[in-house]
Symmetry: C2
Subunit: 160 residues, 2 copies
DNA sequence: GAATGATTGTTCCATATGGAGCGACTTTGC
DNA sequence: GCAAAGTCGCTCCATATGGAACAATCATTC
């Protein structure tokens, strides 16, 4: 008896499977990262964010990722202490620090992300190339549609 | 600038979108549940489990959901205190207590789950019925395939 | 140019949750 | 029949993380 055995009984077939896959895909990798690289989740979030938008401030990361500013602050402090990012003062605003990846930071990001790439290949191994493309297309449409419903019931007033 | 804007740059298009959708689908609903119904996540897990398998013991729920036994234990204690479940001694094993939903517990489960149903309808509103069926079929295949890869690299030794 | 209000980043605090260990009970093996 | 090992549920402990408040800085208004 496992979680998968109630897959068919649940009234939210899509949502349940999304959560099911996300849990088994992401959670073990996060735990391995925490254990083997000593990186906490907010740090990982900052690292990803800087990989795609270097030179932003902590506040920007907080808005982009919709995570609490104190979590981002802790992540930034920790990453700086490990030499994975650097801060430079924002010439236009003394309150802000602009964040930059170091070579070590970029290397660690790539090393961790590599596991995710391998894992995704395994997760989708049972699909043909055409099916994978179809899945990606459907998921993408749903993602783009998130802003439409994230303020509607039952989400009205449900977000932090 | 939002998370969605790096959707296309990431090397794990499927995994990223799965996590993206799961976060926006589930997290706000869990927070609303915690706030409005005073139910913690382990309690919700127990409630769901008993809805589909009534009369099991805490240990069974721990194995089914792969959650720590102390979390299940806390969830059971809390739910019992709220009158949402009852314990009956297992006649065959004095260590175990068999858990049963009360009417109030079933009613609360249904009330909370109703939000998830509405939310899933919104999340998939941009798909046609045929596309929804296709998505469900592909996700289902991936779910059934989880046991194959969850012990392979990079997951070997990554799980709790 | 001073004052009031917003914004950034941080620290303090509360708490949910996972890990380790511990009694109570059961099973296994002799 | 008994000792040793295993199992069930729980409590103690450590900690990651979200909320609230606060100092420093900027913007806005008069």
């Amino acid at each position: 008896m496992k979680l998968i055995d109630i897959l068919d009984a649940v009234p939210i077939p899509v949502g349940y499977r999304l959560a099911f896959l996300t849990n088994f895909y992401r959670e073990p990798l996060l735990r391995r990262m925490e254990r083997e690289h000593g990186l906490m989740r907010p740090e990982w979030t900052v690292l990803i964010c800087l990989t795609y938008r270097d030179g932003v401030a902590a506040r920007d990361i907080s808005e982009i990722t919709e995570q609490p500013s104190n979590s981002v602050s802790r992540g930034v402090t920790a990453l700086e202490g490990k030499g994975l990012i650097t801060r430079s003062p924002d010439p236009d605003d003394a309150r802000r620090s602009l964040l930059h990846l170091t070579d070590a930071g970029r290397a660690l990001h790539d090393a961790i992300m590599a596991d995710y790439v391998v894992a995704e290949a395994e997760m989708t191994a049972s699909l043909t190339a055409a099916e994978r493309a179809t899945l990606l297309s459907l998921l993408d449409r749903m993602c783009r549609d998130v802003p439409r419903w994230q303020s509607l019931p039952p989400y009205d007033g449900a977000r932090r």
